[in-house]
Symmetry: C2
Subunit: 353 residues, 2 copies
């Protein structure tokens, strides 16, 4: 099977980590029967400055018609609102209907306090519909934004969360060491304040997870503020956390803090038959150009993309190579307290493939 | 001066901790020249079940006409939406225009990694306006909520954040040991996605803090997801964090996790000349009736209320007594790993007053 992969480096360290993602895909053993073709695509702040748009139509149309998946690096945003600029990754998620943002957060098995959770973030609605208005009043400006929660999107995201929980359990059952006994989905919301919107998310997720197919999956709930508290007090208790878009955004950064660096945390933006791997970190202008960005979030994002393209064996190879590098702990990038360059980390992981 | 204080115990452990708050106020040394009168007021889930309203008009009118301040315990909420029930504390904040929710999070000075920050949360708007609608569509239900951000409320909250930063600096300058060099306010928002609403919060806060009075105060910004990440990676870097309502809610629970227990964290709901002290924890039905709730969040909330009623000397006495109990670390409630009962902790702190 040949997979055509779009490569959107974006800005800053995006340009340094996406090439590493490409290299690990190319280095996968031939025995897997996978071939890759790559196409470089534009998006981001530099693109906006060159072309006046942050997400050129060409990028979207090539992804849609020509690609099986993609890797997205990171983009810089202007520090103050700039007319016509809006985040290309948010737009991509919507234009390609990549309705789930999947963010696994995991320590190495030997960590003193092992953590192994995945945050499944709804990726198309909530406050990210970006419908805002501003009016002048005698008391000054008043701005409003719409938070939209639909039964359809809530059901879909809860269903994929349930599926991910089952899949994780299957991998555990196959003998992979784990801190979890059975599959658990924690539904996060703030329905004590937002009884209609978050209430709809909550009840829909509950229903979607109550079907026989998920009989084995335990389901519980956490109010978002208390979820953040628990995330830090008892992170080992969580398996799959499902949340509306904004809470998912916040929770996944919080979870990343638990494993020591955003530079370790991958994500995949997942739709029907399409996935974009995306490291959780940003464009990191402070370290750009120094060749010291941690490539692991991107390597794991490439693996995660493969998982959702049903290439689980290939994904497992990448995960194992990354874990081996971390378990040994000799070649670590500066965000992990090491001194290795991006290139050294990549080479170490490639040789473990 | 005689202060008239409303006591709203609410539900669950609210009933166990609010009496402790009353006792510490009564036990303040006479030399401070403060007298207290107390009035018991109703609100919460039990009240709703008795009277059909969670926040009786009487409670609001007595607070308004008769009280200088109040202590609010905690209320339980129904697990599914119940017609007519809505959170009494959210309603109180709005009805009394308690526009700032101030949440100091602080370790003891000798902690291995000392933290000393205060989260200043806007308390009247954002998604807490609770304007929601639901409609049926061919694809199922769609619910929407309004997120409202006004220039007026944003300016007011940033201004009080600046004042709190100056006040903290004054206390430090008077010789109190501190991890901070100078006053810092960190403005938290998500204006990279919500350019109008959070953009307005951001720009208004910036302006409000740019006046000469705050010349000494350093101002910086964090996007909310990255703020949660930083909160856990470098908590010692933060002094005053100011945020819209919902982010403030989430951040203060996150910060509470850093100091080990929600049972330590106080808050004050502050308006013009009025303040309600409120422990950050909930009604904790799991431990209710066992006499083991940690009273410290309430004792500190009583002190915080006094601070905002301009009784800083009295507040300082309470803080010092609580800190002495924690520094010694012998009589700790179970949430802190100890075995002391609420009553033992209260007595230990009272004798240190
Ligand atoms: C850059 C920003 C728009 C984005 C988001 O909020 O989704 C980022 O924080 C993320 O999590 O991918
Ligand atoms: C109980 C709930 C409505 C409340 C809030 O969200 O404000 C609580 O979480 C708090 O922080 O005081």
């Amino acid at each position: 099977r040949t997979l055509r992969i779009g490569l959107i480096s974006g800005d800053g360290i995006g340009k340094e980590v996406i090439p590493a993602g490409r290299r690990i895909l190319e280095a996968l053993p031939a025995s897997l029967g996978l071939k890759f073709e790559f196409v470089d695509l534009k998006a981001g702040w530099e693109t906006f400055q060159e072309q006046g748009v942050a997400l050129p139509d060409e990028t979207v149309s090539i992804l849609k018609s020509d690609c099986d998946g993609a890797l997205f690096g990171a983009v810089s945003s202007p520090t103050t609102a700039v007319k016509g600029y809006s985040s290309p990754i948010v737009a991509l998620r919507k234009k390609l209907d990549l309705y789930a943002n999947v963010r696994p957060v995991k320590t190495v098995v030997s960590a003193p306090r092992p953590i192994d959770m995945v945050i499944v973030r709804e990726n198309t609605e909530d406050l990210y519909v970006k419908e805002e208005t501003t009016r002048d009043t005698p008391d000054g400006k008043v701005a409003e934004a719409v938070k939209r929660i639909s039964q359809r999107a809530s059901s879909r995201i809860a269903t994929i969360a349930g599926e991910i929980a089952l899949r994780r359990q299957k991998i555990r059952a196959a003998g992979s060491p784990s801190i979890h006994k059975g599959p658990l989905v924690t539904v996060t919301h703030k329905s004590n304040v937002l009884s209609q919107t978050d209430g709809l998310f909550r009840s829909t997720a509950r229903e979607a997870l109550a079907v026989p197919r998920f009989g084995e999956v335990a389901v519980e709930e956490q109010i978002v503020d208390s979820m953040v508290y628990k995330l830090f007090r008892q992170p080992e208790a969580y398996d799959v956390i499902v949340a509306p878009n904004l809470y998912g955004d916040i929770l996944s950064d919080g979870a990343a803090a638990l494993v020591g660096s955003l530079g370790l945390v991958p994500s995949a933006n997942v739709g029907e038959g399409f996935a974009i791997g995306e490291p959780c970190h940003g464009s990191a202008p402070d370290i750009q150009g120094q060749g010291i960005a941690n490539p692991i979030a991107t390597l794991r994002s490439a693996a995660l993309m493969l998982e959702f393209l049903n290439e689980e064996a290939a994904a497992a190879k990448i995960y194992a190579a990354v874990d081996a590098n971390l378990e040994e702990g000799k070649l670590l990038s500066p965000d992990l307290g090491g001194t290795a360059k991006t290139e050294e980390v990549v080479q170490d992981i490639l040789r473990r493939l």
